[in-house]
């Protein structure tokens, strides 16, 4: 019974393509996040949604667009993929929207995106 699930787990695509990564959480949490982890294992927050509303949008190219159809889903769409987009992308969720980041977050298994 996976709490935060992402699909696909691996994604290999050519430069210039458009791709999406899906994320679903069955924890009943109000807040969901997307993080990027580069080849040096450095983690950085990209977006956060609380109850389908965008509340964090870090300095991320506008080729990246999150979409939250409902509070259990936060998908990440990437247009015109570039080599530098290659990374592992993690979805996460947390329960307490008042405490926001200052609470336990549950992460998915990650999606390894390779742009060739």
């Amino acid at each position: 019974d996976t709490a935060v699930s992402q699909t696909p787990k691996y994604l290999v695509t050519q430069m210039g393509n458009d791709k999406s990564i899906k994320c679903e959480q069955n924890l009943g949490h109000d807040t969901m996040y997307w993080y990027k982890q580069d080849s040096k294992k450095f983690l950085k927050i990209m977006f956060s949604y609380n109850n389908k509303e965008l509340i964090i949008n870090e300095t991320v190219p506008n080729r990246f667009s999150p979409k939250s159809p409902d509070k259990a889903h936060l998908n990440l769409h990437i247009n015109s993929l570039e080599l530098g987009d290659s990374a592992v992308y993690f979805c996460a969720s947390s329960q307490d929207s008042r405490r926001f980041l200052k609470t336990e977050a549950f992460f998915g298994q990650g999606t390894r995106l390779t742009v060739v």
Partner: protein, 111 residues
Amino acid sequence: GESVGLHLPTLSVQEGDNSIINCAYSNSASDYFIWYKQESGKGPQFIIDIRSNMDKRQGQRVTVLLNKTVKHLSLQIAATQPGDSAVYFCAEISRDDKIIFGKGTRLHILP
């Protein structure tokens, strides 16, 4: 010692010994800190947190120490087990909800 570039700092510890993983944080306005564990091929997993009004917090086999004077955070793991092998990250969160992760330290358990 630590190295930069492609390789994460690695701490090698004998099974059964205690491990101490260190983290220097950057923002004196950070008021909340988290330690995460990331096993190979998995997402980060919350271990323990601490607020800036505390110096120490204990969990099951883990202790986090916070030294605000020198902006230093440490994670102590008692009686290290093979299942503790992972990369450990600290994260600092500021009062205006900015989160910054540390570089990560790989913990390697020697049999």
